[in-house]
Symmetry: D2
Subunit: 366 residues, 4 copies
């Protein structure tokens, strides 16, 4: 029950700071006999890693993952899997000037208030670099789910559906588009607008927020536990726990609050397939009823605020509460929402692996 | 680590079904020596209880709470506090006709899929009646926080800021208004529009969604733990875990995703008071940075879907997946969002009590 | 993760004091569709209940259990099962004289030191009466295990193998004898010696300790998780957590520390049955290797100290640390070890139910 | 809530196998501002490390610890502390011959039964080498406790009080003796007998068990939580979770079961010091009443079975359950009990750190 871990059975504890020797995680609770090698994890890390393009931080981390434990002969043993990613491209001197200033929108002020100490270099523990460890763990979860017949067909895909005021079309989701543009945008038609918005922000020494949508298909019905471990509650927790997240929606989300029941309820009709999951005639619910997966598509949206580090001068105070101006140099993503796309996917893999194992524990006594 | 419990130190496990003998909870981890009597809890239950007005279910439950353990001589002993609320006004025959039908928008379908058994009467465990137990526990949390100097001044207030399409004015929040209208609306000027919207929906055999906003003042800085137990992550989890919740926002929420960093960052200025919490010049963050309270107002919004039970006939299927029509009679709130107001408050008291105790555990070693 | 709960999946949280309105528990995590009625639980309570014979407390509690939730149509629903046992025969005036004295050997001194408040009546929360709730929960665990093919044949039997200096013969265990004498002694030949020892202690205004042994047969191999949740580690935790417990052994226990490896290792031979579990030629290990069940008999011994409440005057201090004499009247078991027998059985049922569900969660991915 | 972690606030998750690249742990929940460097941890590792003398395994591991996270400027930050110890002296070829055999007394059989896969080299995860990580974590716990006034004076000392049939005198405990002999024996007068017993066992190709006693002084009263997290229950869990442990006692332990209440109860007398902790006239309880520390010396004994790896041929079976003979070569401690001494100390530091933080969370609301 450590503070930095998630999951009841498939659990992950992360560690590491932006400018320390390494970030990593311990995956505990993975079933045995899951085929696993570093090459299974590396592609997910490559997808989120910095240095990948014009619209992300210039910090260049190879993000090579090493498996330190829990795997023998190419298979998991059922014991803790330690994944280690060494940091190589720290430039801590970028931060020397900031040591006594609270960067607006950052965790500096609250970390100092809470802990009385803060590793200012790269934001220390509050850096989005921590999410590399989560992405690595997510790749293990994905492999684990592939081993079970009920979950082998799960597909998780996320995309950036808005960047600042540039929005993808709601009906224009194309899985193939996501990795074909530097924004992970599922709508090729919106990419140009995103690019313009990004370039304008960068030119102004400013940053952008965005919304990530994730879609999960192939889910079995029945995942999710009561109350605080409802499927949607856990999704909300883990997505709101991401750096810069300010909102989470399931299905119609906030729009459902403006609807009437007759429009928002999803009617059911006899499915030609005879499969329960095919009985729903619509999916306003986003794949969850009563906190449990219906077997329809799970739909999640996460709002991410603009990167707080901006070159434009801002008003702030020192740790002694004296007035100061600050312009945050260093190497930052102009929009953390972009690289949040693979991270949201990882959150979903982690959640689903855990809920699948929890569900297996109790189902079908006879 | 039971499924139906929340909290790491101040923990609450609820039990009970809509039409069983009782609902209740066990509060474990409350500090000793907190003054506590049934009269401290009853007002919170009275505020959310059914039978209270024209716009909530006609089910009339007195919702009298009994303290079965953990209190002696009017003070908590540090041991588990069992709170019991007996059900008295069940009308289970209302449900006989529904036994083989999935009610659209309800948990019936997923509960059957997951458990292979479902207490259909009143929705069984999936009923919002379970929240009575949470509200009772929230009242204990509030009393506990009042015992500590750092948290004695915390004020939690929630209100209904939209009902269907009727919205309170953003700047029109008046604490005094909330309990002066049957919608818990903080804007007296919006009450009439809400009433009209509600009456129209009822006349149409339909239901409404709504948005609850909660504001917490008097918070100390420093509450919230890393990653998945960030203050905002836990708020998201527990609010999304409420019946009918579909979205959660902190501070500017989804609007922050459309903003630029220069507008969204909250600047800081030397506070006249010399208090850290007063240094922020705005509060787009909603009182949380890096998952930790800043000491500013905590602002949370929860989107609740329309009550799924509606009198209007709907298309559905039987448990054998045969087509059927359904019109849900019984006694239902036309908008569960209304009675969610005191429940959201309770969630916040529970979260804050737990995080305060967690924070105390580690702070100020010297 | 409440303080008073155990189990990761099959979890139990107890509540209640000796002289409060009730004791009880919430069983959360029980699979759905387990047949369960109050009559399944009552016999276990009857076996441990006070008022049952000459060698236990004269307090006469009917210990009637009520199921308040989690069961419909005679089957569990997968939701929390609240079990309530009302207290009826409190005689709190017995305790008035003791209010300012620390009873030697009791938790009074430490409860006051820790909590600053203590429900002195019957020991409040520290009373062995709390174990009634655990025994009720154990009966549910037993029913749950009976639903799974792999665990349906598990048999848990405990007995009192020593009372003071009167010992059962190691080779004389007879299951049938256990319930045929008031000491739950598995060796009929030792009963007379136990009776004499007990009567002498009572005549002297004194009390006795004892050792409970438990044997579990029909266990599948593979139960138990790594490190701190090894099967034997959890057994040690939950048995040491019983009132008056001072020691726990598995298999040869402390005797193994005096043995050589060649004598203590259990050799293996090709089993005629072809069953792995039959391959062991001896069982010094007591059914556990590496924290995981071998499928052989699980053997556990728990040492219980003498009942601290004795009529003989003792030296003690008041809460102001002034000298005083004390003679503890009230109605007490002369040897808590006797009634610990069904409680140790309950602990094992709870542990095995939880470990079985945990093991199911991850096993056989393909 | 990972399987391989312990602690509710000060928590430790370990990872790593005997012959993998590394063993290590993540310490989460340590307070911030605790001075910590690798040199604070290394001495504890040096004390338990192999290669240290004639009576332990010849495997020579430098056991150099690296701090990978959670420390900046020589102080903890309140974030996860990853400690890494690389394995350097693996000789895996020793194990090739054993791959298809179950070594008697080892976890091979149960690991194969549970997981269907097993890292046979050095016992993989079941190796006592895992305890290096726990010892490193224990050193952090010790440093953390030193930061708090109430716990700064805690002293934890363990010693080997019996090796096979050679026993230390009960009254002969000398702290200074422990590190002055290769057995960690607190009685210099017993060392020669231990040496003879050890040499005879080695000459016979055999191994020995032993008993470790630990004594904790300077404890504040009030540590320990209810039921399953009683101080003694947690001690029992974590000590029984050690490799080769078969029994745990607190205070008089099993001897208390043969005593009468009048002899076993610890009387209290007005303390000259005015300190509650000095009021006890004896300490049969071993420092715990009702699961909570009294402030007296905490006394724990752990029984460890003989090392299962012995050179003497033994009867066993193959993984196909065919008969075979086995003689376990490789480099093994003739008595794992010896090196368990620093590990038991580490367990106590971990437990006390966690309970101290838990107790702080709730105490003294006013």
């Amino acid at each position: 029950m450590s503070f930095n871990s998630c999951g009841r059975i498939f659990s992950v504890a992360t560690f590491g700071e932006s400018h320390g020797p390494a970030v990593g995680c311990v995956v505990d609770g993975c079933p045995a006999l899951v085929p696993l090698a570093e090459e299974d994890i590396q592609p997910a890390l490559d997808r989120r890693r910095p240095g990948g393009g014009p619209h992300v931080t210039a910090r260049n981390e190879p993000d090579r993952v090493r498996i330190l434990s829990g795997v023998v002969d190419g298979k998991t043993t059922g014991h803790p899997i330690c994944l280690l990613i060494e940091n190589t491209d720290q430039r801590s001197k970028d931060y020397a000037a900031l040591e006594r200033l609270y960067r607006p929108g950052h965790a500096d002020a609250t970390y100092w208030a809470k802990y009385g100490i803060h590793d200012i270099r790269g934001g220390g523990r509050s850096s989005a670099r921590e999410t590399a460890a989560r992405v690595a763990a997510g790749a293990v979860a994905k492999k684990a789910l592939a081993q079970f017949a009920e979950t082998a067909d799960i597909r998780v895909r996320a995309g950036l559906i808005s960047l600042g005021t540039a929005c993808a079309g709601a009906a224009a989701w194309d899985d193939g588009a996501v990795d074909a543009n530097p924004f992970f945008c599922p709508d090729a038609g919106a990419v140009e607008a995103m690019r313009r918005e990004m370039e304008a922000a960068v030119a102004d020494g400013d940053s952008l927020g965005g919304v990530v949508e994730a879609r999960v298909d192939g889910l079995p019905a029945g995942l999710g536990e009561p109350l605080h471990d409802k499927l949607d509650a856990r999704v909300a927790q883990m997505c709101m726990g991401l750096n810069a997240a300010k909102g989470v929606e399931i299905g119609d989300g906030f729009a459902a609050a403006r609807a009437r029941g007759s429009a928002n309820n999803d009617p059911m009709r006899r499915p030609g397939s005879g499969r329960f999951e095919d009985a729903f005639a619509s999916n306003h619910a986003g794949g969850v009823l009563g906190g449990i997966s219906t077997g329809q598509r799970l739909v999640v949206r996460v709002a991410l605020k603009p990167t707080p580090s901006i070159a434009t001068p801002q008003k702030t105070v020192t740790r002694d509460l004296e007035n100061a101006d600050i312009a945050v140099s260093g190497r930052h993503d102009p929009a953390v929402a972009v690289r949040a796309v693979p991270v949201v996917e990882a959150m979903l893999w982690l959640i689903l692996a855990d809920f699948h194992l929890l569900h297996r524990a109790r189902k079908n006594p006879r």
